[in-house]
Every structure is written in C-alpha cells, then in structure tokens.
Symmetry: C2
C-alpha cells in the first residue's frame, strides 16, 4: 500500500425526507445564493421542497447552470455573489451544478487577477466560500469530494480544479429524487459511477486488499441494482443503494494508498468538448479501448475484476481479462449506452488526430497510472474506439 | 436502507515514516500534553520518533494510562491540563490511551459539576479540547471515531461516552509500529476489529448492499492477513492491510443506514470489569454464544456471512449459519484466542447471574439490534459461554 493522507469533512444527510433538514445546516445569518440548472427542479418538486425548508431565510437564486458547467455562465453568478454580498452557496442539482458551485466557492474568495487562473494554472483552493448541496442526480460523487470540472465553450476546454477548501459543508441525499430522473440520465449516472471506480481500480496491481475489495463492492452493487433502477426508479431500496454507491465511488476513500489511472476521463473530456457527448457516454466509449490498448499492463487487475466482480473463473489470465472487458461493454449496452464513437457522430474521422494534437500543444504530463501514455498512444486508443 | 447522517472529519496520515509529519499537524503555539501508556513506546522507539518530530515544541508528558483507561488516573492528567494551561492533547498509544485522551478532551472543557457525569449521565460532547493521535496498536478504531470507553475500578464500571466534538483532529498510522507489538496484542487487535464488524453486520438483514459488502470486505481482509501478521509482524504489506482494516472497522462508515447490535460489547465489558480479561477476548467469548442464542433472528445474515466470507455454499440456511459460527470460533482459536469463559477463570460459576443482576440494577434500555434482550436472556448467553 502506498502512503496516503485522507480527510473528508463533508456531512452527509441521507434518506427519505432529508431535504426538510436543510435549515439546520445553514447558519441563520447567512445570505444564501441558491444555484440550480435548467429548471427541472421546478417540475419535480425539489425546488418547492428546498424553498419550503428555507422559508425563513433570505435566498437569492441563480438558475440556468448548464450540463458541463460553463465558465461564462458562472462568471454571471460570480457577479451576483459580489453585488449581493452573498456569504453561503447552496447547490441544488447534479454534478454540473455542484461543480459550478465549487468554482464559485473558490472564485468568490480568489485574490488573483482572473478566476480563470484557478483552472488554467490549476491553483489549489485552501479556503472557499462555504457551500452545501442538495443532490438531485446520483452520478459524479461531487457531493462528497473537493474536485470540479469546468468547461469554457469559446476555447473548447474542459479543465479540472480542486483543493481541501472545496468539500461541501453538507450534502443532502434523498433517494426519492430518483423517481423523476429520465432513464437517459439514470443510465449516465450508473455509467459515470461505474467508470469512476474503474479509474481508481483498473491499474497495475499493488494488492491493497481493502481498497480493492471496497472498489469491487461498489462495482458489484452498481451491477446488481442497475436493472432495478432503470426499470423502476420509484424502487426506493434500489435507489438508495445506487445513490450511496455513486457517492462512495468518488469521495476519495477507494483511491487512497493505490495508483489511479484517469486517462479515460482525460480523453473522454475531449470528446465532450468536441461533440457535446454526455460525459458518462464518453467514458463508456473510451474505457474498453483503453483497457485493450494497455492490456499487458492491466491484465492482472482485469483478471481479478473478472473473477471477483463477474465471477469468471475459467481460462487463463488473458482469457479472463478479455472476458471482463466484454462484460463491461455488455453492462453499458444493457443500460442503453453505446460504446463506439461512430454511434454518436458521423464526423468521427480525424478525431483521434485532433485529440492527439490538442494534447501535444498543451503541457503534456502523461496519462495513465504510470503517466506513460503519450499523445500518439492516445491517438491509437481513440481510433480503437471509432 | 435506514436514514442516516455521516460526518467524519479526522485527517488520516497513513504510511511508512508518517510520524515525522507530526509537527505539521499541531498548531505552533499549542501547549501540548502528550499522553501514553505503560512505557512500551520508550522501548520500541516510537517515543523517540515523536519527541524528535516535535523537538521545537513545548511538550508536557503524562504516561501510565492503563489498559481499560482508569478514571482515577485520568483525573490526575486532568489536573495537569488545568495547572499547566494545556491547549492541545496528543495521544501516543492504542485504544486505551486514545479513549483516555478523548475523556480528557471532553473533561477539559466540561462545565458541569464533576467530569464523571460525562460518563454516568452519558453527556454528548459537542466541543472538546483538540487532540491528535499517533496509533501504536491497530485494534479499536478509536483513532478515527468519536467514541470512548472508560473504566472506574472502585465501582467496577465500564461506561461509554462520545459526541461530535471527540473526533481526533488527525491520526498518524504508521504500519511499522506493528513490528514491536507482542503476539498476544496482535491477536487481540485482530479479534477486536473482527468483532467490531460483526456487531455492525450480524443483525436482521435489511439488504443494504454496499454496507454489507464493505463489512464483508473488512472481514475477508482480516481473515486473509491474520496469519501473516501473527507469523511476521515485520511484513509491511500485511501490516498495512491490517492497520487500515482496523480503522475502517469502526470509523462509522459501515454502520450507517443499517441496524447495529453491540450486545457482545455490552456483555463483554462486564467480563473485563469482573475478571480483567482482555477486552478483545471477552468479545470472542460472548459472540459465539450470542449468535447461537439469537440464532433465529440472525440466521439469515449468518448464512450470508457464511457464503460471502467463508465461501460455504452447501446446505440449508440453518446449516450455513451454524457452520459460520464454527468458522468464527476456529478463526479465534487459530489466533490463540480462547472462546470459553472457563478458559480464563476457574471462578466462572455465578458470573451469568451477577451480570444479569448488574444489568437489572441499572436503567435497562435493552440490548441487541431490537433492544429486545432482557437481563434474563443475557444470563442465558453468558451461561452458554462458560
């Protein structure tokens, strides 16, 4: 096991009816900016639940944060924060709204020239404006971690940020929110969480026994509940297992003391930036090719995954490893998630070269758990995903 | 899954050489009281490592905190805290030293009549004096939770305390400390952590899929590493898996959203108070009888444990459940841990009646996950453990 540090101070309030408890968590004298997305919370009743929980507080609202939270929109929200002397942020939404709120938490207290530097120069935020979240879509784990990904459309960039100051103070997780999520979003959430675990698990093996088993536990649980969640989002039991699994998939715990990969995300982000493909779907496109391309380096862990998660016990290490990739692809297909780039766009030719070129133009730090993937290799991975 | 709240702000610093990082974690202007036990840290080098990490700080020491931390001794430490205007506590030890430090953290800021009330009236501590820990013995999980158990010899009482103010600010976990732990203590640590998981898992099933699998992951890992840890405590890999498993066994995570039992601990504490039997060993004495006595209520979960942890796939639910109890007993025996009260004392006759009487004389809130165990039932459980 590698040395590690772990601290996650976010308070989770989980369960039926937990949105009601909101007012206990926000200081009485706070001036709150409530942030949300395209307005689905007004249709599904979550907006009303939040407003009624906070009936005695002064709340200013900022809606319209898009999926892949967009820098220009967030800069408008930042102006509201400054003009209105906001002291507390409340994200009501999924990963995009929460990530956008994290950017605002950092930007509100940022003392540099332009908040864009937080992203462009990857400045770690030690202290942000305090914020809480009401999660409306289980998927990204953003509700219990300190990272965020922000998009800037004008430059087609999608960049990461984070720091110990960006953990939500609290996050409210009521699995009942799942009842009104469209199937497409549920499938995305399942795929996103599943791939988060793979990124932290599918590396060279270092046999960190507990971390491996926790990762496998999340994968097994997602596989088990996925059909139930898709078939009947009102199944509260399945919804709770799903929601808690998504949070645990990316709250830092399973990545501690082990190598991490994250190449699938880095390449996937480019596909979203280029074609506006849903984040989760880009992961399902890239992951299988990535594992095939890096087969020799990853086959031992793939075989362990085959045995423990998919119960594949026959054959050689190579056989099991290959079967595990096939099972993963089939899992995505069962969710209605396509796994080839050509399923999403007819204009896929040249994508690999474009991405490789973009990577070459940036400061290249390498990708994968050994940081050994070059832009040329990425080009191959993307071609395999056509 | 039941509704739950989860927050655990303790910072974990895990790995080889992590004691060196101590000075980064304690405020420069703190006046520190360093607490430790019987002095083994002076023989195994941990004392020197701590002192050298804190060479530029003002440190006052208080050694001699006994196993099952004793109220009268802690009251002497409390006097030192007050006389010396201590502002920060540092526990260097195992669960007993850390639990004692938690009591002091609470008592130092307590405004009631007597600190005994914290225990006797079970007063939750919302804010304690800040403290960190350097863990020298993996076992209790106290390094990453907010609970403590304190003993008062004069009344033969062993009482629990806790509260959100009693999480360590940080805990340093260097698996190298295991090299100098005597086999008896290693066996105790393994048994203690294993039983902690059982208390949070071996209840009526509510099929919280992730919590169950996480609990099973810890049990599997402890079973796998136990022989290695006992055979060669210098095996760093096994030591790290062991150490992290003990912490995860009782840091709150696996108990969230599920019922908990804790009858084994409640009864076991009485055996320690009466006969001074090592805490972990009392758990190994009581757990098998408890599961046999409450077989009907627990057999479904016992059978799940049989299948997933012990790979017992043959037979009926009852068969598997019984086999799982036998496997558990055999696991304790392999560690050199006796599982019958008569192995520890010749004066066992009458113990069941004494414990039952003690329970009857206290305010009785019930034991077990349904709080349905009566003192009479406890009497039967203890008799089965003779």
């Amino acid at each position: 096991m590698n040395n590690f540090e772990f601290k996650n101070p976010t308070k989770i309030i989980f369960g039926k009816g937990s949105i009601e408890k909101l007012s206990n968590e926000i200081p009485k004298d706070a001036k709150v900016l409530m942030l949300y997305g395209g307005g689905s919370i007004k249709k599904n009743g979550i907006y009303d639940q939040v407003k009624s929980a906070l009936v005695n507080m002064e709340i200013i609202e900022f809606g319209g944060i898009p999926a892949n939270p967009e820098y220009a929109v967030l800069m408008q929200a930042l102006e509201v924060i400054k003009e209105q002397n906001i002291t507390y942020l409340l994200a009501v939404g999924g990963g995009s709204v929460i990530d956008g709120t994290k950017f605002l938490s950092a930007a509100a207290l940022f003392e540099g020239d332009t908040p864009w530097d937080i992203l462009a120069k990857n400045i770690k935020t030690e202290k942000g404006m305090p914020f809480g979240t009401v999660l409306t879509l289980p998927a990204t784990g953003s509700e219990m971690n300190s990272g965020a990904v922000i998009t800037r459309k004008e430059t087609k960039e999608k960049l990461s940020m984070g720091g110990p100051g960006l953990f939500p103070v609290f996050s409210i997780l009521d699995p009942q929110v799942i009842t009104s999520i469209p199937e497409r979003q549920l499938a995305n959430g399942l795929t996103d969480a599943f791939t988060h675990v793979l990124e932290q698990y599918m590396t060279y093996p270092i046999d960190a026994k507990l971390q491996d088993r926790f990762a496998e536990s999340i994968l097994q649980t997602l596989i088990e509940v996925a059909p139930q969640v898709i078939k009947d989002p009102t199944d509260y039991k399945a919804a709770s297992d799903f929601m808690w699994s998504c949070t645990m998939a990316l709250n830092g715990l399973i990545q501690k003391g082990v190598p991490g990969d994250w190449a699938v995300h880095a390449i996937g982000h480019e596909l979203t930036a280029m074609f506006d493909i849903d984040h989760a779907r880009t992961l399902a496109v890239i992951a299988p090719s990535h594992y095939k391309f890096n087969f020799e380096a990853k086959k031992d862990k793939l075989a362990q995954y085959a045995e423990r998660v998919w119960h594949i016990t026959e054959g050689s290490t190579d056989d099991k490893a290959r079967a595990a990739i096939d099972k993963t692809v089939a899992f995505f297909h069962d969710l209605g998630i396509d796994t080839k780039l050509s399923d999403y766009t007819k204009a896929y030719e040249g994508t690999a070269e474009t991405i490789s070129k973009r990577f070459t133009e940036r400061e290249w730090l390498g990708l994968g758990e050994h940081k050994s993937l070059t832009p040329d290799m990425v080009e191959e991975v993307v071609k395999m995903a056509y």
